[in-house]
């Protein structure tokens, strides 16, 4: 698993993928947080709500892009056969790729700590920021990234066409992130709207963003990630059916 993980990481950094993902993420979030209309200065509060509002959407694009090749390209070029006939279980292959993707997300989020530091210094008095909520939000973003990565891997395992993998991953992430929120507003779901909302990532992300570490949220993030990783593994094994 570690060999696969290292190979993926090396792949991200030896091609331009890693740099582009990190730079694009920082440019977009930087502009939204500090430059565009409704930026942090204009809001007048020392917080990073704008960053945490936009990041989930930006990450859908970026994570779909970094995971789209993971299996589809291996399938297309035939290297998957090499990988599978090495002494690795299918799940080890999936996990290696998952952790590599997660590390890339982590590295993209890492520089935004500068934003946090800046706002921290700008607060009046200095340090007047809800630190708990900020850490909670970062945690939420990482977990959200974890689900996106697993969705991306699953989409990539479904097809040997990277474009299809990207669109599929984008669509599935979007559904998991926001669709259940929107659905819960539909009148059919009156009465069970809370449960519908609960299926989506957003409600848990919002909850963890308040700085409250609820085990139910953690359980949701973990189980959703595992679900998609398991689906990916099952898809890989489907060659045997």
């Amino acid at each position: 698993m570690i060999a696969v993980f290292l190979k993926e990481i090396r792949g991200f950094f030896s091609s331009l993928i890693a740099y582009i993902v990190i730079i694009v993420f920082l440019i977009i979030t930087g502009l939204l947080t500090w430059v565009f209309k409704n930026n942090t200065f204009e809001s007048g509060y020392s917080n990073l709500d704008i960053l945490f509002f936009w990041s989930p959407t930006v990450l859908i694009f970026l994570i779909s892009a970094i995971t789209m090749r993971s299996f589809s390209e291996e399938k297309k070029s035939g290297t998957l056969e090499i990988l599978i006939t090495k002494p690795l279980t299918d799940f080890q292959i999936v996990l290696g790729k998952y952790f590599a993707g997660l590390v890339l997300v982590f590295l993209a989020l890492l520089p935004t700590l500068i934003y946090f530091f800046t706002v921290y210094q700008l607060g009046d008095p200095v340090g007047n920021i809800d630190t708990g909520a900020t850490w909670g939000s970062y945690m939420g973003l990482l977990w959200l990234g974890s689900i996106y990565v697993s969705i991306g891997l699953f989409s990539s395992a479904l097809t040997d066409n990277t474009i299809v993998a990207f669109i599929l991953s984008f669509f599935l992430c979007l559904i998991m992130y926001i669709a259940f929120d929107l659905l819960s507003g539909v009148s059919w779901f009156n009465g069970i709207d809370y449960y519908v909302q609960w299926l989506g990532i957003n409600s848990h992300y919002q909850s963890i963003s308040r700085g409250v570490l609820d085990t139910r949220d953690l359980l949701y993030f973990i189980s959703t990630t595992v679900l998609f990783l398991w689906l990916t593994k099952t898809k890989l094994e489907s060659r045997k059916w």
Binding site: I2, A3, K7, T85, K86, P87, R239
Partner: protein, 305 residues
């Protein structure tokens, strides 16, 4: 102890039976040629042996481990070069081999990789990306990948297909060199390759094994008649040949060149038959029935004798 054992192995894709209950055993250290026309089931059999595809029925063992029940042990003992030699084109040769060594958790990775690069003849190219290599060198990378963990069994699916004649010879030498202390199964449809490399041949057609013997035996047993090609300095009457006892048929195949179908090797008699005519024998050659013909006969029902 046999190092590969296959019992009633069967693979069905939908309606099509790709491999139909085949049985064979390969002893330790043997080099076996897997021969057959395209679509005969060679690759499918290899994919089942290496644990990529599960069989529809039957079982196989590699170095004593059951492929279905002990896949990781089997994979540890097999070096596999799939058909078309898939590779990561954007990765450096050395990096790729280090990755493979990492999967096997080998110690002294650097040393091993250096050693294998040297042995398969990649030294001048190992600093390049795989995508920049010529086909012959890519094939060496594929072999290096399969050999890095010093496996007991080597499974090579058409290792020389698509290479130029020089590269073919070079790759064959690499296989020969490594095959000394390993069991090797290689598939091919080039007959000379089998003659050059293998101890044993398994000919497979439409999912069924039609021949499984050592190369020498196969050539001898299926030989039904002897062909002698004679080249003379002057044309002579075909009847002179036909008069010699043992000649079944004589025909002129080129200027001063004749092909004779005989019951046995009668070159001596031919010499004395031709000498009085005043035409000198420049060349006289006994044609062994080539594996190529045996292959044609065994895999083509219309030609069956």
């Amino acid at each position: 102890m046999e190092s590969v054992k296959v019992i009633n192995l069967k693979k069905i894709f939908g309606e099509q039976i790709a491999v139909n209950s085949i049985n064979f055993e390969i002893g330790e250290g043997e080099i076996v040629g897997f021969l057959g026309p395209n679509g005969a089931g060679k690759s499918t059999t290899m994919k089942m042996l290496t644990g990529f595809l599960p069989p529809s029925a039957g079982e196989s063992w590699v170095t004593g481990f059951n492929v279905e029940k002990n896949p990781l042990e089997v994979k540890r003992n097999i070096g596999y070069l799939p058909e078309h030699n898939p590779l990561y084109l954007d990765v450096y040769v050395k990096e790729y081999l280090l990755f493979c060594a990492g999967i096997f958790k080998l110690d002294k990775k650097e040393e091993r990789v250096k050693n294998i690069i040297d042995r398969v003849g990649l030294t001048p190219e190992y600093k390049k990306k795989i995508g920049q290599l010529s086909k012959g060198y890519r094939q060496r990378v594929g072999l290096a990948q399969a050999l890095i963990h010093d496996p007991k069994v080597l499974v090579l699916d058409e290792p020389t297909s698509g290479l130029d004649p020089n590269q073919i010879v070079e790759i064959r030498n690499v296989i020969k060199e490594f095959g000394k202390d390993k069991t090797v199964i290689l598939s091919t449809h080039i007959m000379q390759e089998v003659q050059a490399l293998c101890d044993k041949v398994i000919i497979i057609n439409k999912g069924v094994i039609v021949a499984n013997d050592n190369v020498q035996n196969l050539q001898n047993t299926s030989k039904t008649k002897t062909i002698i090609v004679v080249q003379l300095s002057k044309e002579i009457e075909l009847n002179i040949f036909r008069a010699v006892q043992g000649v079944l048929q004589a025909k002129r195949i080129a200027a001063n060149k004749y092909e004779l179908e005989c019951t046995s090797d009668i070159r001596e008699q031919l010499f004395f038959a031709v000498a009085p005519t005043g035409s000198a024998i420049i060349n006289m050659q006994l044609e062994q029935q080539s594996l190529e013909e045996i292959f044609k006969i065994l895999t083509n029902p219309n030609l069956k004798v």
